[in-house]
Each structure stands twice: as C-alpha cells, then as structure tokens.
C-alpha cells in the first residue's frame, strides 16, 4: 500500500440473483481525508459500504487495511469494528432511553459489573475532546437529532477507528446542526481519521470533502480530487451523461405544449410542509405535463406530497381553477380531483395482501363512501377492464398484489388512480425499478392523459425521461426550488447546470 493510505479496496464485485450490484469497484482512503462516495439510487454505494463492514460477503476483489498484514478478511460487522472500521448509519441505531454515556459504552465492557463513575468520566472526557455539547448522564432522547448523531460518532471514534463511515448522516439535520457535524468531522480529520462520507447533498460535498469517488450502476466511474471536478461535471458523472454529446432527444411531436391561454388547474403559493422543504410556488395548466427534477433528496417528492396533503402542510395556499381550496389530508385532494402515485411503491402504494381487484378499486371506493361498496361483480368488471387496458400481468384479479412484479404492481396503482378519473395526476417516480418496456408505456400514458385535457406532474430521476415527457421542469436543489425551465432551455446541459447550481454560467 502507498504511504498514507489506510484503506484500499480493489476490484470489489458483488452479485445478487440476477443483478450485478458491484463490478470491479476500487476505492482508496487516505489518512486524514474526507472522501465522498457519490452516486444516484442503485449506483452501489450502500452495497459497497455493506461489503466493507461485513454485512454482505464480497464475491470478488481484495480489501487491505493499514495495520493488517495482507488481505483483510471481514466476515461480520464485529470483524470490521475490530480492525478499526466504524459506521454511523442514516438512522440512529442507539437506544433512546439510555444515557449518553451508556450508549457510548454499551456492549463494550467485558465485565458484568459497570463502574458508572468511571464510565461517565471517560465519556465526559471524550465528549469534551470532540466538543460535543452534551452531558454524559443526559438521556439520549432528550438531545437533538444532531447531538444524537454526534454521540453515535463519538461511540464510533472511541472504538479507536481508523476508518469512519458516515452513511447519509445529514439527511435529518438542519443547517446549524450540519455545521456542528462538519466541525466534528474536520476535527477528526485533523486527528488522522479517514472518513467515508455518503450523501446526496452537493453543497455539503463541496464544503467538507477532499476527494470524490463516483459510482454508477454498480461500476466505478472514477476518483477525483475535489478541485478537479466542478459540480456540473459531478452531476454528469453521476447521471452518466457527457455534457458535450448531448443531442436533444426531444420529440416535438409527442410533446404536449402548454398554451398561455389555457386554464390553470392548480396553483400553489408559498407552500411548505413539515417534511422540511422551503416554501415554493407552483402551477400547472390544463393539458400540461410538467415535472420536478433534482437529485434524490432534493425535495421533489416532498413538494408533491405537500400539494396532495400527504405531509402536514404548514403554510401556503392552494388554488384550484382559481378558487382557494383547503387540503389537509389526502382525501381533500382526492375530492378536488387530484391523484397521487407515491414514490415508495412498497411502503405507500400497494396493500400487499389484498387482491389486485381490491387494490384497483381502493381510491375510488374510498371516495364513493363507506356505505356504497362496489358489488363483487362491478369490482370484477372494473379490475378486468384495467388489467386489459394497462396489460397487467397477473394470474387473476384475485391474486394478492404483493405477488406481482414491480412493474405490474406499479400498473395496478396507476389503474387505481386512472379509475378515479382525476383532473390532475401526480406521478412520483412511476418508472423506478421497472423494466424498460413498462417505462415507455407509462411515459406514453402520461402524454396521452395530457392530450385528453388532464394535467400531469411527472417526477423521475432520469433526466432523459423527464425531457421526453415534460414541457416544463421545476428544478430543485437542497429542498429549495432553484429554477424553472421550459421551451429552448429544456435540454440536458441546462437542466444539469441548474441542478448542480453554484457554478452556473
């Protein structure tokens, strides 16, 4: 290993049934370095972390770590800890009802008897060293999330780690809390710890990191020193589009142009929710397909969730057809003719044990009311109609939806909302994790709906797809709306420059 390198992973491969999750990935971490690991969803970041920490066994490649002769064999998270690799996950995995000191030392004392005084003193010293503003005897859940996160880091650091992995530690923190965390990271860096930092926030990467390794589709894109990789380049690396050869794939004929004169279906002013987005304005016209774009975690979904009333709306007004409406809960939005296909199909969309038929009629059934159920025969007819219309592949309408493939589940949810005949349909990542054929079908469907005079908001991580379907894009970064693009501006260069921000020309 070269001088100063504390962790070297070479040619790491990992296969899951039918998927190559990692293919020949290299990663090198040096002493006293904060090294970002970047990539969109499914790029392989978390798989790489899990291989490194022994959660998954690797299928190929070598891991070397400073202080261990030859190859390091990491078979379990315990092994990883023993050789000096500590991990702090996105979700805090500590015990909220124990004290800070207990959390820092839990499971690490060998004897059955705990010397409380000793433990608290040790914890106090460490917390002082790291300048974490908390008393060791304080109960953990009385601390802010940021402090809890820092306690988790303190616990990791005290295990004499050489390598500290921070897996999206900032996603639930506010700006000041993030600042505190960064200070702690810099202190650790000065002490010679190597930090692997996984995040979706570009600004944070440029604020605190020294190097970036970019992954895409399970493969290594490259390792870069931060000064050599401007934001726009980083975004293009993550999305896999070279800036130069970006012939516009716009198909003018397929595209539905919004007309200045047509009616505005929905308008939101200063809308904000408890999901942590900055107040934003938004409108959509009759027969228009528009979209929210931005990197994952930029607040795309939170915006549409606020419109649909899925999150608690804290401020702002919503107008439909020019009249103000109050949307507190999803049912209010549904009654106003809004449909919402959620981003997380498994958690928010399907009712897995219920039949395809029940899943299709669900939303419309709720709108019809408690005392007016569809008869079995009606429901069956509706189900058969949509199974045919969307070509849903299922053994029968009685099959539990959980047994269908991802793409077909998505079609069932789509059928559910089509059946409610909404004036305005929000499709949040409708094409994620489904096969290419179904993707195209869904895109076409969005355009067809618009040509029938309905309005559609389309959200996708794939810019190609957005450019193909949308006539106007609202661009988001770090939970703020940072721009709106339409007409000639709708090209990949411009979109990516706006997403990246900072260095716009």
């Amino acid at each position: 290993m070269d001088e100063g390198v504390i962790l070297q992973m070479t040619g790491i491969c990992k296969y899951f049934p039918g998927v190559r999750a990692l293919q020949n990935v290299d990663y090198t971490l040096r002493r006293g370095e904060i090294h970002a690991l970047m990539g969109e969803n499914g790029a392989g970041k978390s798989t790489l972390i899990k291989v490194l920490t022994g959660v998954y066994p690797k299928d190929g490649g070598q891991i070397y770590i400073e202080g261990t002769e030859g190859e390091a064999h990491i078979r379990s998270p315990q092994d990883a800890q023993n050789i000096g690799i500590s991990t702090v996950y996105q979700e805090i995995s500590l015990c909220p009802n124990l004290t800070v000191a207990e959390n820092m030392f839990i499971g690490r004392t060998k004897s059955a008897i705990t010397n409380w005084k000793d433990m608290n003193a040790k914890a106090g010293k460490l917390l002082d060293d790291l300048q974490i503003p908390v008393k060791p005897t304080q109960q953990l859940d009385s601390c802010s999330i940021a402090v809890q996160q820092m306690v988790a880091i303190a616990r990791a650091v005290d295990m004499e780690c050489k390598v500290l992995i921070l897996d999206e530690p900032t996603s639930s923190l506010d700006e000041q809390e993030v600042e505190k965390l960064f200070k702690l990271m810099r202190d650790l860096k000065a002490k010679g710890v190597g930090i692997i930092f996984v995040t979706h926030f570009l600004d944070q990467v440029y604020e605190v990191c020294d190097r970036i390794t970019v992954l895409r589709d399970g493969g290594l894109v490259g390792e870069y020193v931060i000064e050599d990789l401007p934001r726009v380049k980083l975004v293009s690396k993550m999305l896999g589009k070279e800036l130069d050869d970006m012939a516009s794939i716009k198909d003018e004929e397929e595209k539905v142009k919004s007309n200045e004169d047509t009616e505005t279906i929905l308008e939101a002013k200063g809308l904000a929710s408890n999901a942590g987005i900055k107040p934003f304005d938004f409108y959509i016209k009759k027969g228009e397909v528009n979209g929210f774009t931005g990197l994952l975690g930029s607040g795309r979904s939170e915006c549409v969730r606020a419109i649909f009333g899925a999150d608690h709306v804290t401020s702002g007004k919503v107008f439909m057809h020019g009249r103000q409406v109050r949307i507190h809960r999803p049912i209010d939005a549904m009654k106003n003719g809004i449909g919402y296909l959620p981003e997380d199909r498994k958690q928010d969309g399907i009712v897995s044990e219920l039949s395809v038929r029940d899943n299709i009629i669900l939303a419309q059934q709720v709108m019809r009311g408690f005392f007016r159920p569809f008869t079995r025969k009606q429901a069956e007819e509706i189900a058969q109609k949509y199974i045919k219309l969307l070509d849903i592949k299922t053994a029968s309408s009685d099959t539990p939806i959980g047994q269908l493939s991802g793409g077909n589940q998505q079609k069932v949810i789509l059928a559910r909302w089509l059946f409610t005949d909404p004036a305005y349909l929000i499709l949040d990542e409708p094409t994620r994790g489904i096969d290419i054929g179904t993707k195209v079908e869904i895109q076409k469907l969005a355009l067809k709906l618009a040509s029938e005079g309905k309005s559609v908001t389309f959200i996708s991580s794939e810019i190609d797809e957005m450019l193909r379907t949308c006539s106007r894009l609202v661009v988001m970064r770090d939970r703020k709306v940072v721009g709106e693009l339409d007409g000639a501006d709708l090209n990949q260069n411009k979109v990516m420059a706006t997403i990246a921000g900072g260095e716009e020309k």
């Binding site: 649909f308 899925a310 809960r329 999803p330 049912i331 549904m334 919402y340 959620p342 958690q347 928010d348 969309g349 399907i350 009712v351 897995s352 044990e353 219920l354 029940d358 669900l362 939303a363 059934q365 709720v366 709108m367 009311g369 408690f370 005392f371 159920p373 053994a395 559910r416």
Partner: protein
C-alpha cells in the same frame, strides 16, 4: 378460470390434499373433525339430542351438542368484534371479559334500580339493553382512542380496563348483587316458553347475519384490512386510519354489550369476579384458530366464528370427561398449542416440503 380447472385435474390426490391444507379453513375444520371423531369413538352418546322439559314444564332440547352451541354464543359474538379489532389495529383487546362485567352490571342497575332489590323491572328490557350498549361502546371508544390516537399498543391500552373493569362493574351497583325477579328477563339467556332451542343460539346467529350484511353492504372489511396491512397506503388513498381503528373498537364494544346481556340473563344476576372470566383469551384464540394473523391485516370472519365453536367444543368435551374445572385451562392450552403451531406458516411449509419429498420418493420407488 380454465387454467385452474386444468391444473386441478392434472394434480394428484396428494397435491390436492396439500392444497387444501393451505386453505384458511383447514385448521379449524380439521380440529373440529378430530374432536368429533374422538367423541364418536369415546362415547357416541355425546351426540345424542333429547327432548326434555325444564322446570317450568316447557319442552327444551338437551344434550352436549345443544350445550356447545348454547355456551359458544357469547364467544362467537366476541370473536366477531375481536376479528375486526385484530385486523385493523394489529393487536387484541384483552379487556372484553372485564367489559362484559361492566355491561352486565349496567344492565342490572337499570333493571333493578338503585337498591337492587326491586320486585319488578324498573325499566323495559329494551331500554336497559340500549343503555348497556351505549356504555359498552363508550368503553370500546376509550380503548380505541388509546390505541389509534395515542398509539399505545392494544394489549397495553386494554390492560387498563382489564385491570379496572371488574371493580368498576362492582362500583356501579355499590358492590351489591342485584337479582332480577322478573322471569321474562331470563328468557334471553335460557329459553323462551315454547321454543325448545336456547335463545343465545338465536342471538348468536342474528349477530352473524348482521355482520355478514355489514361486511357485504359497507366497506368495513376493505377499510379495516387496508388499514391493518398498510396504514401509509390507506392514508394516501383517503382513509383515516385512526378513525377506522376507533370504529372497530366501538363495534367490539357493541359485541361486548350483547354478550354481557346474554351472560346476566343466564343467571338473572351477576358475580363480578367470575362473570366472563378468561373469555378474552378464548376470543383471541378463536381469531388465531381461524387462521387469521394476530398481527392484523387480512381476515376471514367465518373462520374466526368456526374457531370460536371449536374452542367451545373442546371445553365441553373436556367437561364431559370429568376434567376438573381448575385443570381445564391446562388441557386446553395443550390442544391450543398444537393447533397454533400447526397453523404457523413456517411449520406448514416444512410439512408440505416433507410431504413433497415422501410423495416424490414413493413415486420413484413405484417407477
């Protein structure tokens, strides 16, 4: 349709039996058959039904089968409510026994007046029943509110009433034991003059019909299952998961009122510490025996009801063989453990795998 037809004819008998074992009804029906066979072998007279006369000189049916159907009535009614609560909230109400004590006590308080010694009814039975229903639904709403709005796990939330219920019941009647002297009140827990079938059987059947109609003509089933399976999706489809959970607890409250009415009518009086003792466990078992997940979600009402009858069948069988009542729970526990373990998916999968192995082996040997 044609596909299933083909596959059925294509399957061997063994595979068909295997398919049957996966059906939700399999465990309760198999248990029932086992009990029937056991009784047939041990003593066929178990199934005799005789026409006799009661003390008032009216013709009444008697026999173990009649006893089973009669005594299972309260349990069946509770199982209906318990199934809904389980489906929507993913937990069980353990306070139904104590709540029955409250409901019965309220009923007697109204019928017997403040001193509990009135010679005639102080209010029409129907009025007393309606008030009893309202009170029981109120307590149901209390449990439901704790579960749905305060997010307290159902067992913990209902532990409160489980602990306090019987003393509340005693307090309602100043710890006295009121006795209803009017004979007409006892008709509901025993026999109507001239009708040889015990009245509780009719009441239980009526409750089954009502719940069948409710499930058919409202969305109660769809909503409670959706909320139980995926509350997030339920909310995004316009449902209010809290309200639906609350409603299921109120319905269980109504079931408690009906069961409490039957219980106090059987004896025309009440014993606060004994009435409906341990019935909550039987009601929960009925749901589990019916193959319903106690973690909530999809349910099969008919299977739960079947489960309730199986439990009563078992209890009566044990009585018949002179198992002392103090030892009864232990015997019951053994049988129940066997049934529940057999119905656990992990065991079923193992059995079906073992079955497949043996059948494929024997097929090879034949070849």
């Amino acid at each position: 349709m044609t596909k299933t037809g083909n596959s059925l004819t294509g399957k061997s008998l063994g595979a068909q039996i295997l398919g049957l074992t996966r059906k939700q009804f399999f465990i309760p029906i198999a248990a029932l058959l086992a009990l029937v066979v056991f009784n047939l072998i041990a003593d066929p007279s178990f199934f005799e039904i005789k026409m006799g006369q009661n003390s008032a000189g009216d013709p009444v049916l008697s026999g173990y089968l009649v006893t089973i159907f009669d005594n299972a009535s309260e349990l069946v009614i509770l199982a209906i409510g318990m199934t809904l609560v389980t489906a929507a909230s993913g937990g069980q109400d353990i306070s139904v026994g104590a709540a029955i004590a409250i409901a019965g006590s309220v009923m007697l308080r109204i019928l017997c007046g403040p001193d509990g010694k009135a010679a005639e009814l102080q209010a029409p039975i129907i009025v007393a029943f309606i008030i009893c229903c309202l009170v029981a639904m109120l307590f149901g709403a209390f449990n439901g509110a704790l579960v749905s709005y305060f997010k307290i796990p159902p067992m913990v939330a209902t532990l409160i009433l489980f602990t306090a219920g019987r003393s509340i019941a005693a307090w309602i009647n100043n710890n006295q034991l009121p006795i209803v002297n009017d004979i007409s009140f006892s008709y509901y827990g025993n026999f109507f003059p001239g009708i040889p079938v015990p009245t509780p059987i009719f009441i239980a059947v009526a409750c089954m019909i009502v719940i069948a109609l409710v499930l058919k003509f409202t969305n109660l089933g769809l909503y409670s299952q959706t909320v139980g399976i995926n509350p997030h999706a339920a909310r995004l489809n316009g449902l209010n998961p809290e309200v639906i959970k609350l409603i299921t607890y109120i319905i269980l409250g109504l079931c408690v009122a009906v069961a409490g009415f039957i219980k106090v009518s059987r004896f025309s009086t009440i014993n606060y510490s004994v009435i409906a003792k341990d019935i909550e466990m039987d009601a929960i078992l009925a749901v589990a025996l019916g193959g319903n997940s106690l973690g909530g979600g999809k349910f099969n009402m008919a299977a739960s009801i079947m489960g309730a009858y199986v439990i009563q069948f078992l209890t009566t069988t044990l009585y018949k063989f002179n198992v002392v009542s103090s030892a009864l729970p232990a015997y019951k526990a053994i049988v129940v453990i066997i049934l529940v373990v057999l119905s656990a998916p992990i065991v079923r999968e193992k059995i079906s795998r073992a079955w497949k192995k043996t059948t494929s082996k024997s097929a090879k040997e034949v070849a």
